[in-house]
Symmetry: C2
Subunit: 152 residues, 2 copies
DNA sequence: CCACCAAGTTGTACTATGCAACTAGAGCGG
DNA sequence: CCGCTCTAGTTGCATAGTACAACTTGGTGG
């Protein structure tokens, strides 16, 4: 195995290790907003409102899963649904003020946690690391890990 | 917000996005070996055998969770338990040949998937990315994201 | 109008997980 | 040696997230 392969293996292992911890960590940090809810809210904020189907597609989740998450978020008053006047099947999801507020809070406290862990990193390394992650995830979104199995 | 903060935020968002996908992706890739099982087997291989409590501590899982995972893995014939002769409370967990084999298979196919996504990366970037991840996870292990909340 | 497709919802099942209660073994002070 | 306490692990119970399948409702094209 050459150096590049070794790096790939390290990346694999470390990404995996991180992923395994993330959910639980996120839950411990913010019992009120699970990792999934957080990402859904985040997407709504970025997109400025979208359909449940869009969320499902974006996050490779089943629409039933999204439906339930959305219900929970609506019950919690963090998002609201508006029937699209042009297509009554569609519900446009949008953050409420409470949702925007909570999202900002959680984002901030997550940022603090991350910043703690990254405190002693040189700025140049942070930038490169961030860029690598973006690049990696972009590739992953286009060609998911299951590509050779799922085909989709 | 300065450039470093922006990088931190990007890192946070991208790590989160990855984490959210990882479990499902791993499951689709290898229905026979969940992400958790995979990491547990991996740890057993690395450590050359350890106790359930060690696994729980290492992965910040409840011992009951580990106990069930271990039971499942044993049922599947991938690991075996041996009572420690020096302390009959302790079960030393070790990979069986079948476990070693499956682990190698899954590792290989995961590596292929990762390599696909990283195919067009220069070797130098791979190395740096890997190093960043290791560094990040090491810091995370020492000072988990919930550090400011959990204390321990 | 009817057949078909698309967006969501709901029923059901499964997995991972944590907490609490429990069992069993180890170690310690009397 | 006896009980107290600690540790390792198991089990009962509850919860969250997820998928799949069946269904409801609304749009579209013949």
């Amino acid at each position: 195995m050459n150096a590049a392969d070794a790096s790939v293996e390290t990346i694999q292992r470390e990404m995996t290790a991180f992923a395994r911890r993330a959910r639980a960590s996120a839950g411990r940090m913010h019992p009120e907003l699970s990792l999934v809810s957080y990402t859904l809210l985040g997407h709504l904020e970025e997109s400025g409102g979208c359909r449940a189907t869009d969320l499902a597609a974006h996050y490779a989740l089943d629409k039933s899963t999204v439906s339930r998450q959305v219900s929970a978020l609506e019950r919690a008053g963090l998002i609201e649904r508006r029937v699209d006047p042009e297509d009554h099947r569609v519900q446009v999801l949008q953050l409420t003020e409470a949702g925007t507020h909570i999202l900002a809070q959680v984002t901030e406290s997550r940022r603090i946690a991350f910043r703690e862990r990254l405190a002693d990193w040189p700025a140049a390394d942070l930038e490169r690391f961030a860029a690598y992650l973006v690049r990696y995830n972009t590739a992953a979104a286009g060609a998911p890990p299951a590509a050779h199995a799922s085909g989709s």
